[in-house]
């Protein structure tokens, strides 16, 4: 081994020592995500505020991991939850079972269930991984543990990612 080779190697080390690091110091800095990233699901709404979900259970039928449970009910015509006769009374996704394949999004006839960007879902208890309608609807920002933490601190939810643009399918979702 020559001295020359040793110097060369040291040079490389030195060059990288002074260059800008490629590592993202997550969670202090947000992770840049690609627009088509598959994260936590969002139940979207129509512009008039009605839920897009009609409780048809096709997402549950398409799910390869049996992670989705839907219980439909009939809309009150005076006070509808969704357009038409039927809405999802119960909509649950078990995030431990979910493999984020996106089949539910493919199967949805109304574009109600869309995979979003949130991925920080780690939690302590099994039951906390079952996300209900309240946790999935478009108005909710952050995962269950994030929202719990935010509530404890009295601060807004801090998301650990950034995306160049939000997909069109995620109508009305604001990640901030």
């Amino acid at each position: 081994m020559s001295v020359m080779a040793l110097a060369k190697a040291l040079g490389i080390t030195l060059r990288h020592f002074f260059s800008k690091p490629v590592t993202i110091p997550y969670p202090d800095a947000p992770v840049p995500l690609k627009p088509r990233f598959h994260g936590r699901h969002v139940l979207t709404r129509h512009p008039d505020g009605l839920e897009k979900c009609i409780g048809c259970s096709l997402c549950a039928a398409a799910c390869p991991a049996y992670a989705i449970y839907v219980e439909p009910a009939e809309n009150d015509p005076e006070n509808p939850v969704s357009p038409g006769e039927r809405y999802a009374k119960v909509y649950e996704i078990n995030m431990l079972r979910c493999i984020f394949c996106g089949n539910c999004e493919e199967a949805c006839p109304t574009g109600a269930i869309v995979l979003g960007y949130e991925f920080e879902l780690a939690d302590y208890r099994y039951a906390d991984f079952v996300y209900t309608k309240a946790d999935l609807l478009v108005d909710t920002v952050g995962s269950k543990p994030q929202r719990r933490e935010a509530e404890r601190l009295g601060k807004p939810v801090k998301l650990g990612f950034q995306v160049p643009y939000v997909r069109e399918a995620l109508e009305g979702v604001k990640y901030e």
């Binding site: 009609i54 409780g55 048809c56 259970s57 096709l58 039928a61 219980e71 439909p72 038409g84 039927r86």
Partner: protein
């Protein structure tokens, strides 16, 4: 038999078979929407078009030959609807020609033209005939094409144009909803009402694209309306009790038997998340064909709501939930010093044969004479030679004394077939014929084949040439008069029924080659009447349908479940310890007993007031086992996955009682009871899906009911007391009616429309007074709802606060 060629296969079918059935019998497929088993084929949907040809004979009667010497095939000039075309000798059918495929695909597109695209929210989605046929026979090529790399690309979509918009939510009754947009005008529901229950109610209104299904009446006639939701090929007619409860593929479907009545109808019980959501008919060509009654279909909410989950024990006068161990300890402390012979064992009428067997064995072990079941009749149904539904179709005359529509609903439907002269259909490779050419629209009913008598005007009287309403309790006199007419003796007078009618019935009865007697609970409960019927049936050779109030009565009797001499019956006070499974005895029995242990699926007022210990019970939807219907047909129940944790079957509850008494239970589990039952009675291990005839003739003594001569007649009803817990059922049935002749009403000081409380041995019922001049005088009529069906009981009329009488 005729031989015909379907594509490349020669098949042999009985004469009168439709080409559609011949095609299925040959193993080929043809799409159809309007044909349905047990309904008339009418060729309304034009889906089953096929290319058909037939050889012809010349004037000399010889087949016209072609050049090769084979019979020459003359093709029909156009495609033929195979459902309305009878198969003939030498016929040639082509179902695979391009011409046929094009016509079928075109018809699918026409049907889809105005069909809304709301499959995701349609309760029929996944079980829809239109969805399936559209995939199999639709114009697929127009919408998708193969690209070079083998992928299919969408060319057009059916979303492109708007469709006809009409009424989407038309409620036809409390149980059935009609979506007119989805209707494809197949006419199945219209034909069903006219042909099967004989209630002409629905019809097509307007023409062409404006056609819709409508009715003058609201609601649909009660009794059999639910079957239209099964036969609707699309989601136009839907079951409101199961509306939006789940998608079809999410249900866990269990094949079992309906135990609300003794007709032995097979059902599918659809459950989701441990709850019963829907009940559908299951095909059995021998009993219910593909139909069930409304009570069997829509009355299932009681098995879901307000179920008992823990044992209850009375401490300081209040029932408290405890663990099974605690309940058993408490029971032991109550039963100290009680002898086995002081224990009364009572079983509900909808229990299984295994449970009945366990009760008989336990009674033997305890040496107790107190053994009975709810809904037992004074004379055993097993004393009569049982008729099967097949016998009914082959018979020339049937004499009905009772109300089949309410007591054994399936018999009402089979009586229609009997009156129309329809013979049992042959079985094909694919099962029941889909287009049975012997069935036609608006077939005349031969009234000369039926005579009907009852204490009030029943539905079947519409089709009876001879009919009469006798006063409750005079069935015995009437049967004695009939017998006297038959034997040429001097008949006694029967109030309400003219002697000429009875003479004519007796003559017609003797003329007929094959006769059927159909006896209601009232006759079976009246020893005088039942014995007269027995003499007629034996003497003149008639087969009998005994419409017992208990669904399993014939089976219970066969294994010996019958009160012994000196034993107290179900509604008689006597035993110091009362154990009743599945049914609550009358208040008097529980009041006089020292200890009462009940085994119930739901709490009821009498049990809440008097029971000492209550164990949670399984309903018949949750049990395995055998049952025997009124024909003596052994059928198999399967458990739907809906039983609450801790619910016991009667065998387990009985074992707990025997344990508390310090006795070793002879059978303590279902499997044990099942095995011993099979061994003891040499029953087959696995049954044919349509049942197995087991018609033993047990010799059981006549055992009349005490206090069965009051002035309140409990008229039979297909609905049971427990089913009234559901608000939807109550809304459909309306207020309970106390029907009475105006003269009798005046004697009791009753005003039409007034609300009164009627105190009966089975509890107090609120009812509104309805006048009916067609009823015999001297009696008040109240629906029994399964308790004391067909009996005359003592009563008291009370005026509720704020009411008037």
């Amino acid at each position: 038999m005729v031989r015909l060629k379907i594509n490349d296969r020669w098949v042999e079918v009985p004469e009168g078979t439709s080409v559609l059935d011949a095609i299925f019998h040959a193993g080929y497929d043809v799409p159809y929407f309007c044909s349905e088993r047990h309904l008339s084929p009418i060729g309304a949907c034009r889906m089953c078009l096929v290319k058909v040809g037939a050889p012809r004979k010349d004037k000399s009667g010889e087949w016209i030959k072609d050049e090769d010497g084979n019979p020459k095939i003359f093709w029909f000039p156009k495609l033929m609807a195979s459902c309305t075309l009878a198969a003939t000798e030498g016929m040639v059918v082509d179902t695979l020609a391009d011409e046929v495929k094009k016509a079928q695909a075109g018809m699918v597109e026409f049907t889809l033209l105005n069909h809304p695209l709301d499959c995701p929210i349609c309760d029929k989605g996944g079980a829809c005939e239109l969805q399936d046929r559209a995939y199999e026979y639709g114009l697929f090529g127009k919408y998708y094409t193969e690209t070079q790399n083998g992928l299919k690309s969408v060319q057009y979509t059916r979303f492109e144009f708007d469709r006809r918009h009409v009424d989407k939510h038309k409620k036809l009754s409390e149980f059935v909803v009609l979506d007119r947009e989805r209707c494809i005008i197949c006419k199945r529901c219209v034909r069903y009402f006219e042909e099967v229950p004989g209630q002409e109610v629905l019809d097509f209104i307007e023409r062409g694209v404006h056609t819709f299904i409508g009715s003058e009446e609201y609601p649909l006639p009660a009794g059999f309306s639910g079957n239209i939701t099964d036969i609707c090929p699309v989601g136009a007619l839907l079951d409101l009790t199961a509306r939006f409860r789940a998608r079809n593929w999410e249900f866990e479907s269990t094949p079992t038997v309906d135990m609300n009545d003794a007709s032995g109808a097979l059902v599918w019980v659809d459950a989701r998340s441990g709850q019963i959501e829907r009940v559908r008919a299951r095909e059995n060509p021998e009993t219910n064909e593909i139909w069930i009654s409304d009570a069997a279909r829509f009355g299932h909410a009681w098995a879901r709501e307000d179920r008992l989950r823990d044992p209850l024990v009375r401490k300081d006068g209040v029932l408290q939930p405890v663990s099974v161990e605690e309940a058993l300890e408490h029971l032991k402390s109550l039963l100290g010093g009680i002898k086995g012979a002081e224990v009364g064992l009572y079983l509900s009428g909808d229990a299984t044969l295994e449970e009945a067997y366990a009760f008989v064995e336990a009674a033997k072990a305890l040496k107790t004479p107190h053994l009975d079941f709810e809904g037992r009749t004074a004379v055993a149904a097993g004393s009569f030679a049982p008729a099967t539904y097949r016998d009914l179709l082959e018979a020339d005359f049937s004499l009905v004394i009772g109300d089949p529509t309410e007591e054994m609903p399936i018999l009402h439907l089979r009586l229609q077939e009997f009156l129309k002269g329809i013979k049992p259909a042959p079985r094909f490779f694919h099962g029941t014929p889909i287009a049975d050419l012997q069935i036609k629209e608006r077939m005349p009913r031969n009234k000369e084949k039926l005579a009907a008598f009852a204490p009030y005007r029943t539905a079947v009287m519409e089709w009876a040439a001879w009919q009469g309403t006798y006063a409750p309790g005079s069935a015995g006199a009437m049967l004695a008069a009939l017998e006297a007419h038959m034997n040429g003796k001097r008949p006694p007078e029967v109030p309400g029924v003219p002697a000429e009618t009875l003479r004519a019935v007796a003559t017609r009865f003797l003329e007929a080659k094959k006769r059927i007697l159909i006896l209601g609970a009232e006759v079976l409960d009246d020893p005088e009447a039942a014995e007269a019927a027995l003499r007629i049936a034996r003497g003149k050779g008639a087969l009998v349908f005994a419409m017992t109030p208990a669904a399993g009565a014939r089976g219970f009797e066969a294994v010996g479940l019958w009160p012994e001499k000196g034993g107290a019956a179900f509604d008689e006070a006597g035993p110091a310890v009362v154990f009743a499974s599945g049914a609550t005895p009358v208040a008097e029995v529980l009041e006089k007993a020292r200890v009462s242990m009940l085994h119930l699926s739901r709490l009821d007022p009498i049990a809440a007031r008097y029971a000492d210990v209550i164990f949670p019970a399984k309903t018949f939807y949750e049990k395995s086992g055998f049952t025997v219907n009124a024909e003596g047909r052994l059928l198999e129940l399967a458990p739907a996955p809906v039983a609450p944790l801790g619910a016991l079957d009667a065998i387990e509850a009985l074992a707990l009682l025997l344990e508390a008494l310090g006795k070793k239970p002879p059978v303590s589990q279902f499997d044990q009871a099942h095995e011993r039952l099979l061994e003891r009675y040499r029953l087959p291990k696995s049954l044919d899906p349509f049942g197995w005839l087991w018609q033993p003739k047990p010799r059981l003594p006549v055992r009349a009911h005490a206090g069965a001569d009051g002035g309140l007649y409990l008229r039979p009803s297909m609905w049971k007391h427990r089913q009234l817990a559901d608000a939807r059922v109550r809304a459909a049935l309306g207020a309970t009616r106390l029907s009475v002749h105006p003269k009798t009403a005046a004697e009791h000081g009753l005003v039409e429309g007034a609300t009164v409380e009627v105190e009966t041995p089975y509890g107090t019922v609120q009812a509104s007074v309805a006048f009916d001049a067609g009823l015999p005088e001297g009696f008040l009529y109240l629906p029994a709802y399964g308790r004391g069906t067909g009996r005359r009981v003592p009563f008291r009329l009370l005026v509720p606060a704020g009411g008037e009488a």
